[in-house]
C-alpha cells in the first residue's frame, strides 16, 4: 500500500436484484482516518453498498479494494483475514440472543482464539466502559437491554478487535433524539480513540452532519455529489438540496409503490 492508496477504493460497482439496478457503476474512495457518511433515500442502495464491501452480497461487476487488496472473487480465508481489520455496527444491533453481553462484545476475539475466556471477559468489560456501560451489564442478555443500550453493546463489539475500518449502518435509527446524539458522540469519540477509518450510511442528516468529515450522496445507484460536511448546504446540487431539507417537491421522486 502506498501513501496515496485509499483505505477503501470502489470502482464501477454494479449490483442488481432481478430487473432492479440498485448500484449502477458506483465509484467511491475513502481515505485513511476519514469519516465518510453516505446519505440517500430509503431503498437507494446504501445498505447494499456496505454489504457488497463486506462480502455479504456478491457483486455483478466492478472493483472493491481495501488497502489496495481486491475484495472480489477471493478465498473465504482471505476474506476472513481482511474482515479482521473491520468492525461493523448493524442497524438493528444484530447481537447474538443466546450469548450474554460480554460474550457478544468479545465474540470475534474468542472466535479467532486470540484470548481465553477470562481475558475475553476483561476485554469486554473494558470496551463496555468505553461506550459508557458498567460491569453490571456484562452478564445480561441482549433481550434485557433497551434499544440504546443494545446499540452501545453493538458499538463495543464493533471496536473490540481494534479495527482499522468501522462501518456504521443507520447508527441512530429507532433511537430518541437524545440517545441518537449520545450514539453520535460515542461514534466520534471511539473512531478517534481507535484511529479508525469510518464509513457510515444514514438518512438522518443531524447524525451525518455531526459524525462526517465528508458526505457523499447516493442516488440511482451512483454517487451524485461528494464534499466536505461544511459545504453540503452550498452543494449546488438540486438532489442534495431536496434531500437535506426533506422536501417532497424536487427532482427526487419517491416510489409510492414497490
Amino acid at each position: 500500500m502506498t501513501a496515496s492508496t485509499p483505505k477503501i477504493r470502489i470502482r464501477d460497482l454494479h449490483r442488481s436484484f432481478g430487473p432492479k439496478r440498485v448500484l449502477a457503476g458506483l465509484d467511491l474512495d475513502l481515505e485513511v482516518g476519514e469519516s465518510l457518511v453516505v446519505i440517500g433515500g430509503s431503498g437507494s442502495g446504501k445498505s447494499v453498498l456496505t454489504k457488497c464491501i463486506l462480502g455479504l452480497l456478491p457483486i455483478d461487476g466492478g472493483r472493491i479494494e481495501i488497502d489496495g487488496e481486491s475484495m472480489v472473487n477471493i478465498r473465504v480465508e482471505e476474506r476472513e483475514r481482511i474482515n479482521r481489520k473491520i468492525g461493523m455496527l448493524f442497524q438493528g444491533a444484530a447481537l447474538f440472543d443466546s450469548l450474554p453481553v460480554w460474550e457478544n462484545v468479545s465474540f470475534g476475539l474468542l472466535a479467532q482464539k486470540k484470548v481465553n475466556r477470562k481475558e475475553a471477559r476483561e476485554v469486554a468489560v473494558g470496551k463496555l466502559a468505553q461506550v459508557g456501560l458498567g460491569t453490571d451489564v456484562a452478564d445480561l442478555y441482549p433481550a434485557e437491554l433497551s434499544g440504546g443500550m443494545q446499540k452501545r453493546v453493538a458499538l463495543a463489539r464493533a471496536i473490540a478487535g481494534d479495527p482499522e475500518i468501522i462501518f456504521f449502518d443507520e447508527p441512530t435509527t429507532g433511537l430518541d433524539p437524545i440517545m441518537a446524539d449520545v450514539i453520535n458522540d460515542l461514534i466520534i469519540k471511539i473512531t478517534r480513540e481507535v484511529g479508525a477509518t469510518a464509513l457510515s450510511i444514514t438518512h438522518d442528516m443531524a447524525s451525518a452532519r455531526k459524525i462526517a468529515d465528508r458526505i457523499a450522496m447516493l442516488y440511482e445507484g451512483r454517487i451524485i455529489w461528494t464534499g466536505p460536511t461544511a459545504e453540503i448546504d452550498r452543494s449546488g446540487n438540486d438532489h442534495v438540496d431536496q434531500f437535506i431539507h426533506g422536501r417532497a417537491e424536487g427532482p427526487i421522486k419517491m416510489a409510492m409503490r414497490a
Partner: protein
C-alpha cells in the same frame, strides 16, 4: 401456454431448490470434518437434541408399544397366534416404529426450533454479523447441530426401543394376563442384533435429516416473521417426508436382500 409455463416454472424451482440443498449439504458435511470445531456448541446441542427430547420420545414410545401389544393381541386372536405378541412388538419397535416415531417427534421439536432460531438470526442480521466477525456461519451454526443430530439420535432411539418394549410388556402382562418371564424371554429370544443395528442406522440418518432441514430452511429464510414462520413449517414438513422416504430406502437396503 399458461399450463406449460407453470410446469416449466415448477421444474426450474425444483431444480434450483435441489441444487441449493445439495450445495448446502455438501458444505455442511465439509464443515463437520474441518476445523474450527465449536465443542461448547456441539455439547449444548447434544444435550438439547438428546436429553431434552427424552420425555417426548419416551411418551411416544411407551404408548406406541402399548397400542402395538393391544392391536396385535386382538388381531392375532383371530387365528390363535396371541403368543407372537412379544415378537411383533420388539421387531416392529426396533426396526420401524422406534426410529420413525422418534424421528417424526424430534422433527417437530428440534427441526422447528432450529429453523426458527437460525431463521431469526438470518432476518435480524445476526448471521451477517458472524461473517463480519470472521466466523463462518456454516462452521458455527450448522456443523455443530448436524454433528449433535448424528450422534444423539441413535441413543435416543435405543432408549425409545427399550421404553416401547416396556410399554408392550405392561399391556401384555397386566392387561392381557401374559406370564412376565415368558414374555421377556420370548422378546429376548426373537430379537436379533440386526434388528437393533438397522434401527440405529436409520436413527443416525434421520438425525441428519432433521437437523439439516432445520438448518437449511432457517438459513435461507427471508422477509421477517412471516419468512421465519414459513421456514419453520417447511423444515418440519420436509423433514417428515424425507424421514418416511428414507425409511423405505433403508428398509429396502437392509431387509430385501
Amino acid at each position: 401456454m399458461g399450463f406449460v409455463q407453470t410446469i416449466g416454472r415448477l421444474a426450474l424451482t425444483f431444480l434450483r431448490t435441489t441444487g441449493r440443498l445439495g450445495l448446502f449439504t455438501a458444505s455442511a458435511f465439509a464443515h463437520c470434518v474441518r476445523p474450527p470445531f465449536y465443542w461448547r456448541i456441539i455439547l449444548k446441542q447434544m444435550i438439547d437434541i438428546g436429553y431434552f427430547s427424552l420425555p417426548v420420545v419416551g411418551l411416544t414410545a411407551i404408548f406406541a408399544g402399548m397400542v402395538l401389544a393391544l392391536q396385535s393381541y386382538t388381531g392375532f386372536a383371530r387365528f390363535s397366534a396371541e403368543g407372537a405378541i412379544a415378537n411383533v412388538v420388539v421387531v416392529s419397535l426396533t426396526r420401524e416404529l422406534g426410529p420413525v416415531l422418534a424421528g417424526l417427534m424430534v422433527a417437530g421439536r428440534i427441526g422447528a426450533s432450529l429453523a426458527a432460531e437460525i431463521g431469526t438470526m438470518r432476518v435480524t442480521e445476526q448471521i451477517d454479523a458472524l461473517t463480519t466477525l470472521s466466523t463462518n456461519p456454516m462452521s458455527y451454526l450448522v456443523a455443530p447441530r448436524l454433528i449433535a443430530g448424528l450422534l444423539m439420535f441413535p441413543p435416543l432411539v435405543l432408549v425409545a426401543d427399550i421404553i416401547g418394549v416396556f410399554g408392550g410388556y405392561l399391556v401384555a402382562v397386566y392387561k392381557l394376563g401374559f406370564n412376565a418371564s415368558n414374555y421377556l424371554q420370548s422378546t429376548w429370544d426373537f430379537l436379533e442384533a440386526s434388528d437393533v443395528y438397522s434401527g440405529l442406522v436409520k436413527a443416525a440418518v434421520f438425525g441428519v435429516i432433521v437437523t439439516l432441514m432445520g438448518c437449511y430452511h432457517g438459513y435461507h429464510s427471508r422477509g421477517g416473521a412471516q419468512g421465519v414462520g414459513a421456514a419453520t413449517t417447511n423444515a418440519v414438513v420436509s423433514a417428515c417426508i424425507l424421514i418416511l422416504a428414507f425409511d423405505y430406502v433403508l428398509t429396502e437396503m437392509f431387509f430385501t436382500r
